[in-house]
Assembly symmetry: C2
Homo-oligomer: 335 residues x 2
């Protein structure tokens, strides 16, 4: 038996169930209007099993966090879902997310409505992350915020003039796809050469480090990165901190790319706050310090002066808090 919370215990904005669909991880939580998660859980996506199996697991994960929080589905304002695009946020359909191969035209909102009997909304996870950091996190109280998640890929979104920015295509902008190097490396997500994502994502850091290790081996240069398998972005950051020259070069290229991309984004969005989330930002000031310096030097004066660069407050729960934020934004208060 589950003990169901009384409405008095929560504020009058109600509670939402927040679901985050990632390429490697599914996450769920029950979140209050002030951003407090009453419960949180995550499990592997196991994307190779296809959408039916993964969504079954996601909705079970949702039920488990409802139970943990002592909340019945009927008490929910509704469900918020964040997922990588392209997606149709109004129809609530995942179109063909590149991190979820084989998930074509999945009507995830209808399925969530069926699962919990409450309304549901879907947004790009970058858009949701921006909304979450603005409502609950590092951008609270600001008028405009640019959010960038530097992870397997680079996603993001924006809140402009106090409103979540969604764009005409409904994906709320793709800040990972600004040019940082003309005729540079091809970008796996969009096909263009020289995107920010092709240089500063975790995947790219690991890949460029692998190439640098091979070059070092051919040149007979020692590097602490040699022999690491898998070789990750975190390995590169750690070796760079210890002064390994191969790692330092890869890290500097990463920081230069991120600084250049953010300079472009700060020039065009003139945000009050730039929030950086995702695994790569766990390196903290090792990443943020030089990136801040580049933006301060290269962005246009008034835009650079207005923008404060900081790390996401949501941490590992940023995806769930983002999904909660769009639910509070888009769904009517619970009955």
């Amino acid at each position: 038996m589950t003990h169901h919370r009384s409405a008095e215990r929560d504020n009058d904005q109600g509670l939402v169930l927040a679901l985050d669909i990632g390429g490697t991880k599914l996450a769920a939580g029950v979140v209050r209007a002030d951003g407090r998660a009453l419960s949180f859980a995550a499990c592997p996506t196991a994307v190779q099993e296809g959408p039916d199996a993964a969504l079954k697991r996601l909705f079970e994960l949702g039920r488990s966090v409802l139970d943990e929080a002592g909340v019945a589905p009927g008490q929910l304002r509704g469900t918020g879902i964040g997922c990588g695009g392209p997606l149709d946020g109004e129809a609530g359909v995942l179109i063909c997310p590149p991190h979820l191969p084989g998930w074509l035209d999945v009507p995830v909102v209808d399925l969530a409505v069926e699962a919990y009997g409450r309304p549901a909304v879907l947004d790009n996870d970058g858009t949701a992350g921006a909304a979450g950091e603005w409502r609950f996190g590092a951008g609270r109280g600001s008028d405009s915020l640019l959010y960038l998640t530097v992870s397997t890929g680079i996603g993001g979104g924006a809140v402009l003039g106090g409103r979540t920015f969604r764009g005409a295509a409904g994906n709320g902008g793709e800040p990972g796809h600004v040019l940082v190097r003309s005729d540079g490396r091809p970008c796996r997500s969009c096909g263009r050469r020289g995107c920010l994502e092709a240089y500063a994502s975790g995947t790219s850091i690991a890949e460029r480090a692998g190439e640098a290790v091979a070059e070092a081996a051919a040149a007979g240069t020692d590097t602490a990165l040699a022999g690491l398998d898998p070789l990750t972005a975190a390995d590169v950051a750690a070796a760079a901190r210890r002064g390994d020259p191969v790692a330092v070069a890869v890290w500097e290229e990463t920081v230069t790319a991120l600084g250049s991309g953010l300079t472009t984004l700060v020039n065009v969005f003139e945000p009050e706050v730039v929030v950086l989330g995702g695994g790569v930002t766990r390196t903290g000031e090792q990443l943020l310090g030089p990136v801040r310096r580049i933006v301060a030097e290269q962005a246009m004066g008034p835009a650079a002066a207005a923008a404060r660069l900081t790390v996401a407050a949501g941490g590992d729960r940023a995806g769930v808090l983002g999904a909660a934020a769009i639910a509070f934004e888009r769904l009517d208060p619970a009955p």
Copy 2:
């Protein structure tokens, strides 16, 4: 004697006086809420005479278009002023526009209030241009619009979700300052290397053509551009149309840069309409055709599919219509 219009002859949104302060030209007009200009006039800025002389001439120009339209200042909803940034749109002060050397902290709004006895507002001319094309021009009825003016420099602005975008620094974004070539030519306005403005502005086209002519002379290659003084962007476009290989190379570099910059901008803003204005766009499809192809090929699928590229409807009056648009947006209806 001036015959003053009766209120009945105009719609109930009133009339505004619109003033556009450019680096080479001052323009003024009396504009109705439907975007019809009842009068229009322009004169040289003569920037070397300093702000006092130029503003005296601007306010006289304003009086002349009021007279021409048969409108008394007291009948105005107010005055809208567009000018290049950086500026403080809320305080109504020009800070230090690079195209107006020596104009430091000019309180242009207070001066306009004094001149006409009616309220006045100031915005970045790129922001005003975006508002003008959205309200009166090529982006009418759209939800989101990106405006780029390709002229002496490259400015612009955006309307997002039906609201004029102003940014935390109040300059509404500087879309001319996205990276198009890493380690490229230095940008005169912002100091960074490889900005869109450093490749596709009229100034840059002429400058790069000058360099190409010198190289052609050194190599003994003939070009129709040799001996033209001044050599303008329009000369380059005309010679490229006739197949002059030196001009073709400069034009192709221009188009590639503009296509690349717009790809980045379309990815991050996901606009419904992209409006291109400014002198360089008088070349029409010679510019727009290849730029459209590059954006369609390189921008992310949903964003590219959503974006319609077109030329500004305002033509030579775009600045005045933009200034009128921000006046209608920001000023209360006339008494």
